[in-house]
């Protein structure tokens, strides 16, 4: 059986006056998955999300939700989306329950539905005992959970999360990511998530779209992306002196070496042909009378894959 995409983005261009933000983007977002959108800050991720929910209208092209044009049927379609923006959007002076009750009413839910849904969501996001607590009294992680709960009050088919872990510490970040997975698994809701922290996408998403210069640069699963770029293995070296000023000029002259980074007292060297590069590195180190204390050939992380993609001309 053919699976129709939940959302189809067809040749969408978005311009703000003369500023081209998205340039002829096309992609399909499947049902029930976690779809990641990655890109540098200001690359148009948030604009794309706003286009998906019909909040913005494309300059060119069209977006379809279950084959219906989003921009033409916004009022009907927006009920199918839950949106959590970069900054949690709720009333800090209202309690968690009051916030959910308020937004539930605005989505046209019956009082009884709101009550049962609130109970269900508070359990889902782990705020069961905090219903009467004011929004402003919650910790950053809890505020993010409340924001997600508000986005889900009307049982949307798609949950859109715009950089949901922004400004959170690693522990809270993990907490939120686990919550997103849980929501996706338990309620079957499709999730579209944007981030510039690639570790999140690596663990969370089924499909990743990388936006570069207003275009979809890559669209694949994380493993496939990693595989595609794994041939660009990196060489990690460390010298006894940990002073790389002598060897760096020689390494930079090598055409095979594409990138050199100093990180944690070590050099991370990317090369087109790692084996050849390894030999040249040894030669240069010896020539400069330095002693290698550590050397390793490693697969790149998704961060590096992303950096490679972004660095590609």
């Amino acid at each position: 059986m053919v699976e129709f995409p939940l959302i189809e983005v067809k040749n969408v261009t978005k311009k703000y006056k003369n500023n081209l933000v998205l340039d002829d983007i096309s992609l399909d977002i499947p049902t029930g998955r976690i779809f990641g959108i990655i890109g540098e800050s200001g690359c148009g991720k948030t604009t794309l999300l706003n286009l998906l929910i019909g909040f913005l209208k494309p300059t060119k092209g069209a977006i379809y939700f279950q084959s219906k044009d989003v921009s033409k049927r916004r009022r009907r379609i927006e009920k199918n989306f839950g949106f959590a923006a970069q900054i949690p959007s709720f009333y800090p002076q209202l309690t968690i329950k009051e916030n959910l009750d308020y937004f539930g009413t605005l989505y046209g839910l019956e009082k009884a539905d709101i009550k049962s849904r609130t109970k269900e969501l508070l359990r889902l996001v782990g705020l069961e005992n905090k219903g009467e607590v004011l929004g402003r009294q919650l910790s950053a992680g809890m505020q993010r959970r409340l924001d997600i709960a508000c986005s889900l009050i009307h049982q949307p088919k798609v949950l859109i999360l715009d950089e949901p872990t922004q400004d959170l510490d690693p522990m809270l970040r993990n907490e939120i990511l686990k919550l997103i997975q849980k929501i996706n698994k338990e309620s079957g809701v499709s999730v579209i998530i944007t981030s510039h922290i690639l570790g999140e996408i690596d663990r969370l998403c089924n499909i990743i779209a990388i936006i570069k210069d207003g275009k979809i640069s890559k669209l694949n699963s994380p493993s496939e992306l990693e595989e595609e770029y794994s041939k660009n293995k990196i060489i990690i070296i460390e010298t006894v002196s940990a002073d790389y000023n002598k060897i760096l000029p020689g390494l930079k002259k090598e055409k095979n070496i594409t990138k050199i980074e100093e990180y944690g007292g070590r050099l991370l060297i990317s090369a087109k042909d790692p084996k050849k590069a390894f030999n040249r590195i040894f030669t240069i180190v010896n020539k400069e009378k330095e002693i290698l204390s550590y050397a390793k050939l490693s697969k790149p992380s998704l961060e590096l894959v992303f950096e490679n993609i972004m660095g590609e001309a």
């Binding site: 909040f55 927006e78 009333y91 209202l94 009051e98 308020y102 937004f103 009413t105 046209g108």
Partner: protein, 512 residues
């Protein structure tokens, strides 16, 4: 769910949320709810009187007289604080230094005499023009009262004397009549006497003893009377003749004199008639003075300004004060609430819910209206204190006027809120708009002092319109729809509603 019910449910949720936000932000609640109440109460306490308190007057005169002292005492009686200065420069300096509001310089030895120049010069600080007018009005009024009092005394004296003269003359008029009548009688009697005398005289003149003598001679011849007897008789007859002739002369003389007296009496009668005519003229002339009341002669036209409506300052200024409070509360509250919502975290989530903009707009409006209505209730409480029973017949019209006015200003405030991007600029905008509306109104200077086209525009200033309507309704008991002003307010409500909606849409596009 029933779509209509759903709309009300959504609007209710928004209003409930707005109230919660307002009440949970204690500073906002304090400023928005208690602020106006304090303002109204302070105004009520401060202006609830028709008296003028603590107005200081300096006076100076080279030589105070009873008259100038009476002016000073009159001012003291009027609750003014009066202090006497050592010289006129010192007196003027007290005004410059702010120690007194007016300096009055009286002419030396003021007295009510023809050859004296009685002048009272008033020096005042015209930069405090309203106070100056008020003080000068009272002082000049008082001085004019005193002058009037003096004129009244003098005029009364003149009038009393005139009245006395009239009474005297009227009293003497009967004596004159009697005199005239007596003169006429005397003249008539004189005429009779004269006629009798003339007749007697004529008889005497024709009296002749020669016939008697002839008879005596006849008798002598017939009776043979002696010559001596006859001669004796004839002599007697001659004596008689002589006496009668003498008497005739005297009678004629008396008749001539009587005629002279008659002429004098005729002349006296004429004189008496003349005096009578003069007396009558004087009496009728005094009678013809139509204004005999000295008060009316001193001030033939009495001018007094009778307040239509209330007699206290607050009673008259209450409508303006009420509209002023409502204008500031409504515009500030609405603009602040809109900007706070706009700048709040949840604005975006509200935006993406399937709730129509009109519901948001209406709910914000209703929240504001409910809060302002609370203020209106308090205002009416204050009004009930000042207007007492007078308020009951116009209560409904007053409430409707105040609610319509609130609606107009709330929508204006909402429009300002949607146009500005930060709370600070919105508050500045709201205060600026309110101040402009206040400045171009009767509250500062009469709008009639503004020239031509601008005055026509200013007469449609929402503040002026609302103030005018409330005054008509509250003070002059006009029916709500008797004045065109209510239609102007309704027009403003429609226009501001549209503008508020358009502003929200513009803001939304900017947001998107």
């Amino acid at each position: 769910m029933n779509p209509v019910l759903n709309v009300f449910q959504r609007a209710g949720a928004i209003i409930k949320k707005d109230f919660k936000l307002l009440l949970r932000s204690k500073s906002s609640a304090l400023i928005l709810i208690l602020g106006p109440l304090v303002l109204i109460l302070l105004a009520a306490f401060a202006f609830n009187s028709a008296s003028i308190y603590d107005i200081k007057i300096s006076t100076y005169s080279v030589a105070y007289s009873d008259l100038s002292n009476s002016f000073v005492n009159a001012l003291k009686d009027e609750q003014y604080s009066v202090q006497q200065s050592g010289n006129d420069t010192e007196c003027i300096e007290t005004v410059k230094a702010g120690l007194s509001h007016v300096c009055l310089v009286f002419s030396p030895n003021m007295e009510l005499k023809n050859d004296l120049n009685n002048e009272v010069k008033a020096y005042a600080d015209y930069s405090r023009i309203n106070l100056v007018y008020m003080v000068m009005d009272t002082i000049l009024g008082r001085l004019s009262n005193k002058s009037e009092e003096l004129s009244l005394t003098m005029t009364k004296d003149v009038m009393d004397k005139l009245q006395l003269t009239k009474v005297e003359l009227t009293g003497r008029s009967s004596s004159l009549n009697a005199l005239s009548s007596n003169t006429r009688d005397s003249k008539a009697k004189l005429e009779e006497s004269y006629t009798s005398l003339t007749k007697v005289n004529s008889g005497m003149k024709v009296f002749n003893t020669s016939d008697a003598k002839e008879q005596v001679l006849d008798l002598q011849s017939e009776n043979n009377l002696s010559e001596s007897d006859i001669s004796e008789i004839t002599e007697m007859l001659d004596d008689i003749q002589t006496s009668i002739t003498g008497m005739a002369t005297k009678v004629e003389d008396s008749a001539t004199k009587l005629n002279d007296v008659k002429g004098v009496l005729e002349s006296s009668e004429g004189e008496i008639e003349n005096v009578k005519t003069s007396v009558n003229k004087v009496v009728s002339s005094v009678d013809s003075i139509s204004v005999t009341d000295p008060e009316n002669i001193v001030a033939p036209i009495k001018t007094s300004i009778e307040p239509i409506g209330k007699k206290t300052h607050l009673g008259n200024t209450f409508p303006t004060l009420a509209i002023l409070v409502i204008m500031f509360i409504s515009i500030l509250l609405a603009s602040t609430m809109v900007v706070r919502e706009k700048k709040g975290r949840a604005y975006f989530r509200n935006f993406i819910t399937p709730t129509h903009d009109v519901i948001f707009l209406s709910s914000t409006f209703l929240t504001n209206l409910a809060i302002v209505f609370l203020q209106v209730v308090i205002l009416l409480g204050v009004a009930a204190y000042f207007f007492k029973g007078d308020l009951v017949p116009v209560l409904f019209s007053t409430i409707i006027t105040l609610l319509l006015t609130s609606s107009m200003f709330i929508l204006l405030g909402m429009m300002i809120g949607y146009l500005f991007n930060s709370e600070e600029t919105a508050i500045l905008g709201a205060i600026s708009v309110s101040t402009i509306l206040l400045l171009f109104s009767n509250a500062i200077l009469p709008i009639e002092t503004i020239g031509g086209t601008i005055r026509s525009v200013v007469s449609f200033n929402p503040f002026v319109v609302a103030d005018g309507l409330l005054k008509k309704v509250m003070l002059f008991k006009y029916g709500l729809f008797s004045s065109y002003l209510i239609y102007v307010i309704l027009g403003f409500i429609v226009v501001f509603s549209i503008l508020a909606f358009v502003s929200r849409e513009v803001e939304k596009r900017r947001y998107m």
